[in-house]
Symmetry: C4
Subunit: 453 residues, 4 copies
């Protein structure tokens, strides 16, 4: 069972025989122990609920009273909030959210590629109307953006996923909850129902190693009322996030923990152990059918983590409702392409799917202009992850709301300056992608795509 | 009426109930109150003229006596003057002039693209004559440059627009006055007439939200004797200039002003309120006809802010006299193209208009070599804005004169080293634009252009 | 005979008449004097074995106790080890290993070109198996990497080449020993045999100036049991390594040594003296036949230092077993191409040899992702040099083992994230080389290639 | 006559009425006053010869005893010497030699473009011979390099041009003397004859404004025995060298000199005054014939400063012996192309002239590898200017000799590593110019070229 722990086997071994409360609370739903640990294994008294607030105060460094703090109302853009977050989040939390794979090749591609696209604005148009609304995974949204799924939000703020659900609802955009939420999915949906938050929640699925667990999880998401299923396909193993690994190694080293043996023979799982293989490492196109069966007609199914024109085409033929172009925030494969690069690949090699599949993108988005660049090129909507968690960590829920407002202002202003009144007015003619096209491949693997279909 | 205030509604609310004299004077013509505020609303004694000089002394930090100051005669180029201006201008003034939109994508494109063009000089030619003269918007000019329109020049120096009018006249180049001059248009033209400054003034028009105001403004410009009309078309809303916004937010915050509510319902205007919509947000191609009607045959009409080959072609078919390629100094749309980029687009996709329309460019011009690069590629003349206001702020009118002299020297020397005796000798063969062409789009939106015509 | 000294004539003259023990020991096998210096020339008592350890302690600065040291277990990648090595290696050792030719043009090409290739990962594949094994120069290896040949390893650590042989063996990868090993080839193979290290040793040959010496050396390598012969072809003269030259010049200058005359007439060699000509400067394609004759059927012959498609094709026609694309770690010709650039040249101009010749590459490899990029493009395996000597210098043999483990982890994780289960699954479709192709030549010298064949 | 002064009118006015000895001596031949100033205008006693040495000691800051000095024997390359020169040369001298035009666009192109070319080395060739000799402007040279013409060498060292003549002769390369030598041409040739230095002197001609002066100068060069004539064609006016101008302006300002009026009417010359027009601003292709007439058959005539394929072709048709591709060390036109760029233009658009005209290049050359890149692409030989004057300023004549030795070593080593035994072995196949070709124009002005012929 140790191999099934979503944080990896090491995370368990590291705390073996010790009081792990401080590390446990901010990242586990409060019903975790009751649900996952058989009663007979509760070996001592644990009162997480009592201790929770105190721990959170400790894990998160004090935010107020720092003369260098930037008041929320002075934040002009999302980067201001990130700067503030880097000052007030605990090292553990900031490191977790900030880290990316290996030499940061994929992370930097995300940042760089947005700036490689410029606009071609049109003038002398009546732009008095600016309608930014669209449909995202079957639901209407005020803006073409959503909060992308991220794990362990309570590392940033005790209100965690609830803050996202509330801010998203009050500002009219959808929110995708991670399989690894720090409030349980029950708690989040309870809150949504109690407070009438609108029901714009999407469920992000990391497919567990055992199929029975996967089906159970999908059934639960369905029962709780989630409206779309984002099946993550880019995580057969977890990437090598060195900033995070470095932090953990240092803490471990300073606490005098002995090396956890990497080669120990562990056989309490059906699957064979796989290095960094927290989730299913066998997930493949054939599995889509039983996932669809378990989900039923509860809403669209989106494949999250498509990174090539070939796989976009395979997804289309597999009959899913949408694809989500993402390199996982640069956290998985070093030197993976940006979503923008993949979007251009699709435009070039399988334009047929644009307009037929919903297309979502994320990675490195910090500006309303980034959002509209993606829309011009055929994206349905754009997800943002880190910016919202930084906003939450720096300023609480108000920060998230302010972040949405800032983006709304930027999107509205940019639309008008482009000469557009609604998102469907936009087209590739509104952007100059020539610089990015210099890095576009010349051919794709057509043979492979054919053979599989 | 609050929505019609050219500085935006916030600018009014920020000073509500307080003495705003210090902020008011440097940016409003001295007849502003008399013209725009009905007598019955003058609630207390206000003596702007008495207080003006004192205020200016306060707003502008002391210039003399600073041991690090660079004497004017040591300035070797326009950048030296900017460096000095950054030291002596008030934070408010420098921030206002220096700021640009969002992440500075458009601003940087302006600087970068000039340096992406190199020269192809020709040797062994008799270049003893160097005639730099040309015609700019119907008037003869000693140099192929003019002072581009900028608002609120008195923020830089109390002589304000009058200094520009005088320096431009004494050195034989035209000057375009902004709708938002800090001396009234009457005052400026009075000075021009009194001092016999030559009549090379152009009028830059921000089209007001109400058509009657627009017509009134055009009629007045005509009556005052302006010789050409620059209709600004890139400002349906005002860009998000973060450096400036940040400054204002900080001042507001430090002065303890409460948040100005952004969503308040204000309905004293015919138009519906538009975020950042200071001027008309409905201005479109159909409006050109009544503008032309109001202006009559008082001189050429130029559309300022054209940023695509498509709109250049539409302007040609709309029958205007010229186009002014500009991204508004990078102050409007983030990631807008540089004028040079747009000029190359026109050369590639609608070369027919070169030679038939007057073509002006601005943005990032700091050198005589920049000016000649534009001329080689088909520009009629080149505008410079910030460099002149920095020269004025740093050294007063003498600085502006010196800036023109420096440019004249650079243009003359560069012409001779290129092997040219007059501007019409120059052609695209004198420049290497290959680097810039790597970023040129491959096709334009021909369908749209056709449909509209 | 002074011209035959592998360190160059200067290295001998510099120590003439002085006790050179400290410089001698770390870079010469312990049997050097007995083998190369006739008994009658032993002029005084020399006890290298007694003094060895003491000297090593002196040459290498103390490693322990430095509070800034990074413990081995905190190293997350090979660059961490290099950082540590730069702190603990003696200046002499670090300078020797770190230096590269002239203005570092070739060195930087190596680093840069890896980062110019990005990945095209495929998702939804069962990647539970990850077989990284391959055959390297006729032997099976657990990973597609090997320790590239480097001279004078004892400069880094007293265990020298023995540490490499042991670490490589225990982790299942091959190791190529330099002609200039600091333990004698006999000592190394003695250790291999005594400890049963597996026999994955390859022999790197610098062809001596006199053919009889070359044949003697090849015969010995064969007799000792080396399994492949890497004939270095890029070193007719030794490159100008300024960091190293600068260090030597400074030491010489500070010790008051007079200038060694560069133009002295020395005629104790058959060959005429050649500037920087330590090895044969006459070696050419015709010589391959007698080298092959001397080596017999003892295993594959690989030409190390191929840097053009033309020479790759000539090598193919010359009938060798493989080519080793390398610019010698940037230490020979300034502005030489990276191995990756040469590999692309081969793909473009003589794809016929891919699959028929073994192809090895090295230069600037620091990541598992670099290794897999080369494999995708047709390389058989990838050599790493400096990273292993830095690991050895910083942490001893355990460092080398950890370096192999880190690479193994990176390669395994990257393979799975690419969607591949074995190396042969990979192909050029898994990488985007478009950026690098911008720098690829358009034609090769076909005439020359033809004329020679 | 003031307009004929080669340093410009300002240089005279600046010293009007003052003792200018200190400024005069290092830059004027000792017979200047006797030759150029009519006896009756010698108004007071001037003893330049007595005072010369003393002045030189003062103008040049002390070189010895500085603990940070780099001893000559530690210099590994030409850049080391430049670093030393920047420390020991007087500000005036360093500024003069170091400065370049306007925003340094042309200077940077020179540095950058060499590094944009990489090598394609060939292996397994017998390179035991390395013959670097060639013919330069009709004379044999040991290396494919020469000392490019520079003015006022005594600013760097009192031995001035004599040091260059001696070092060039002793190391077998030619030297081109400037029109503005600080030793008179008579003095230099006297020295050449007295010391039997070989007669490899070339004469660089700035064509004076008056034809009679030009003819006189050419006749004298011929009489003194110069063997080739380099007619400088890129200097109809002198460039705007801001570093130098800034230095002069500061000195002038600090010494309280009043502004020299720029617009004063000066009419003691036949030509009309031309801004920055020190030499002839009318020089054109027609003038070549009388220059050829004056020079007779005294050796090759080379046009120095060709910067386009068009002018290269015109030169060919004009019947000169060679062209010298140069942007004057980046000192004339900002954003002028590098010689390498022009060389590629010629290869692309008028390859016919390669092999028929001698082709020389200079600008930014610092390495033997730069030299060979030019040779590969068709250059006959390569000039270096600043590196030699820095070597002279830092270390005297020995520095110049060492600089030639370093280049010789680099050229020899690079040749062998390329697989070449003599310069004629090299061809474009030995370089990869793909990066540079991205910036190459697509067409030239054929019409103009035709019209003129």
């Amino acid at each position: 069972m140790i191999n099934d722990h979503p944080g990896g086997r090491d995370a368990v071994l590291r705390h073996a025989g010790k009081d792990a409360t401080e590390d446990f609370i901010p990242i586990h739903p409060s019903d975790t122990l009751h649900k996952h640990l058989p009663k007979e294994k509760h070996l001592g008294p644990v009162k997480p609920d009592n201790k929770r607030k105190e721990v959170m105060n400790h894990v998160l460094v004090a935010k107020s009273g720092d003369s260098k703090d930037m008041p929320l109302k002075l934040c002009q853009n999302l980067l201001d909030m990130e700067a503030q977050a880097s000052k007030v989040l605990s090292e553990r939390a900031f490191t977790y959210f900030h880290s990316a794979a290996d030499s940061l090749g994929a992370l930097r591609a995300n940042e760089r590629d947005w700036s490689r696209v410029s606009f071609r604005p049109r003038v002398l148009r009546n732009v008095v109307d600016a309608d930014m609304s669209c449909r995202i995974m079957g639901q209407s949204s005020r803006l073409p953006i959503f909060i992308a799924p991220m794990a362990m939000i309570r590392l940033a703020d005790d209100e965690g996923e609830l803050a996202f659900a509330r801010a998203a609802s009050s500002h009219g955009i959808p929110y995708a909850i991670s399989t690894y939420s720090s409030y349980s999915h029950d708690e989040v949906m309870q809150c949504v129902n109690d407070e009438g938050l609108g029901r714009m929640q999407m469920f992000q699925l990391y497919v567990p190693r055992r199929r029975e667990n996967a089906i159970q999880l999908i059934h639960k998401a369905r029962r709780l009322g989630f409206r779309s299923l984002l099946v993550t396909v880019d995580t057969p193993v977890v990437g090598k996030r060195e900033e995070d690994d470095r932090y953990k190694a240092r803490v471990e080293y300073q606490s005098g923990v002995a090396d956890t043996p990497r080669t120990a023979d562990i056989s309490d799982s059906d699957d064979k152990p796989v290095l960094r293989g927290v989730h299913s490492s066998t997930l493949n196109w054939e599995d889509i059918s039983w996932i669809r069966g378990a989900w039923g007609d509860s809403g669209p199914i989106i494949l999250k983590g498509i990174q090539s024109a070939e796989d976009a085409l395979l997804a289309y033929h597999a009959g899913v409702d949408g694809i989500y172009l993402s390199n996982h925030g640069g956290r998985q494969l070093d030197f993976a392409p940006s979503a923008l690069q993949t979007l251009l690949e699709i435009r070039k090699f399988c334009p047929i799917i644009i307009g037929k599949l919903q297309i979502y993108v994320d990675g490195g988005v910090r500006r309303g202009s980034d959002v509209l660049k993606a829309i011009c090129l055929g994206a349905t909507a754009v997800g943002l992850g880190r910016p919202f968690v930084y906003a939450l960590g720096a300023y609480g829920r108000k920060g998230v709301e302010r972040a949405i407002e800032l983006l709304s202002d930027e999107i509205e202003t940019t639309m008008r300056l482009l000469g557009a009144n609604k998102l469907s007015d936009l087209s590739p003619h509104y952007v100059n992608t020539k610089e990015l096209e210099h890095y576009l491949i010349e051919s794709v693997d057509r043979k492979e795509a054919k053979a599989r279909l």
